[in-house]
């Protein structure tokens, strides 16, 4: 492997969370590895894990990169009590997350209107799990809190960025016409939120 690929491997190994591309390219610029570019080094490391029979793999997620164990070893790892799978989210929580992911920044009232159910408790627990955050306050009565998804949301749903979610027109049924202020496409939502650091490419 090239020196840069090895350096990246060490950096990714040392971090529990995905390492943002920005941080990696900063490391690459300091590393001074002549020819090798960041993308080439990442490709090299990924190929190294894929082709030489490793128990881990390099995954692009949440605007960064992360080393993860391969799915075939999950059960053995869990049986040995070295790590435990996080709990599944309820259908109600997933619905709320889906709405926030597409319509962020979005207030509680709008979420409740779409689902037809009170959302207070679910918002609280999603917030506690770090999947959503308060990203601002809306106009209007009481200046309601507005919610958006976090990098941890992308990580836990194996998304590189919000654009990876199916676009509204790719869904079987088209979403209603967007309101003037609220972005419907994940693309617009992502930029509006300052979320999901853009990749170099």
């Amino acid at each position: 492997m090239t020196p840069l690929a090895k350096l990246l491997e060490a950096a990714l190994f040392a971090s529990a969370a995905p390492v943002p591309v920005d941080a990696l390219s900063l490391m690459a610029s300091h590393a001074d590895d002549g020819e090798t570019t960041l993308d080439a080094a990442l490709d090299e490391l990924k190929a190294h894990y894929d082709n030489e029979g490793h128990g881990v793999e390099l995954v692009e997620v949440a605007g960064g990169w992360q080393i993860l164990t391969r799915p075939e070893y999950t059960e053995a790892i869990e049986r040995a009590q070295l790590a435990a799978r996080p709990q599944r989210l309820s259908a109600a929580a997933l619905e709320t997350l889906a709405i926030i992911a597409y319509r962020q920044p979005i207030g509680r009232a709008e979420i409740e209107e779409i689902r037809g159910v009170g959302a207070g408790a679910i918002l609280k627990s999603l917030h506690e799990r770090g999947l959503i955050d308060i990203v601002g306050r809306g106009e209007g009565l009481g200046r309601p809190l507005l919610y958006g998804t976090t990098p941890s949301f992308l990580e836990q749903f194996a998304l590189r960025h919000l654009e990876e979610l199916p676009r509204a027109d790719e869904l079987a049924i088209a979403l209603r016409a967007p309101r003037p202020a609220t972005p419907t496409s994940p693309v617009a939502a992502a930029t509006g939120n300052g979320e999901a650091p853009a990749r170099a490419d």
Binding site: I67, T74, A84, R115, G118
Partner: protein, 255 residues
């Protein structure tokens, strides 16, 4: 009532009644009233753009009747909405009226929107399932989860040695030795009786030995009270805190 509303599937009247009787659903299955409504529509294979409101409203009410009260509010709101739409559908409208707006339109829009949310949920579910099957390095909060996620497996010697460790670590409590000194009320009664056998009157200091131990004082006091209760003697005290007089009770003597 169905005939008032245009039903796209003319044949499903009786079939629907049969299925709704057989179909028993846990209400926890629904994540909300729209979910329940969509389920009904799917089960009955109804055209979402042409919902037979009367029938659906009836089935909706049937399903929610077993709801717990605290969950029911959101469902009841939807039920009320359905009933209102049903009423609006029943209003007569003139032939050739172009401006008639289908009262179901808003409901259909919401259902479609909700259906779309469900589609995204499917995507999220698949992805999170994929991610759950991979571990990143060292999540401390997951380490904490392990402790409760599985039953504890530990051998008896391990458990005992753990208990031993804990006991040795634990501070030794300061122990007071309490020497039991039983009161001898019966003995004191004997002393008082013996004294009163000789003298009709006595004083507290007559029966109290010099340098009496507290237990002796207490025993004598209790003995006096006991004998007074039994009527063998009388206790009189001229004023508060004065020495009291012990007098043999003549009436008991007579008895």
């Amino acid at each position: 009532m169905d005939d008032v509303i245009s039903v796209s599937h003319g044949s499903n009247g009786s079939a629907a009644a049969a299925t709704s009787e057989v179909f028993v659903v846990e209400l926890a299955e629904y994540s909300g009233p729209l979910d329940l409504l969509l389920t009904l529509i799917r089960d009955e294979q109804i055209d979402i753009y042409d919902i037979p409101i009367a029938r659906i409203a009836e089935q909706f009410l049937g399903r929610i009747s077993s709801l717990k009260l605290d969950e029911a509010a959101d469902y009841l709101e939807m039920a009320a909405r359905l009933v209102r739409i049903k009423a609006q559908m029943l209003l007569p409208r003139r032939e050739g009226e172009d401006l008639w707006e289908d009262p179901r339109a808003e409901l259909v829009r919401r259902l479609l929107e909700y259906q779309q949310v469900r589609e995204v949920v499917d995507v999220l579910e698949r992805r999170s399932e994929d991610r759950r099957g991979r571990f990143a390095r060292a999540y401390t909060q997951q380490a904490a989860l392990i402790a409760v996620s599985r039953p504890l497996t530990i051998s008896l010697p391990e458990l005992l040695s753990a208990v031993d460790r804990v006991l040795r670590l634990a501070k030794k409590p300061h122990v007071h030795d309490v020497v039991p000194r039983a009161l001898d009320v019966d003995g004191a009664i004997g002393i008082v009786r013996a004294l009163l056998a000789i003298r009709a009157h006595a004083q507290w200091k007559d029966i109290l030995p010099r340098k009496a131990e507290p237990w002796e004082v207490l025993s004598l006091l209790l003995a006096l009270l006991e004998l007074a209760k039994r009527g063998e003697l009388r206790l009189t005290q001229p004023r508060a805190f004065a020495a009291f007089e012990i007098t043999r009770d003549s009436s008991s003597e007579a008895a």
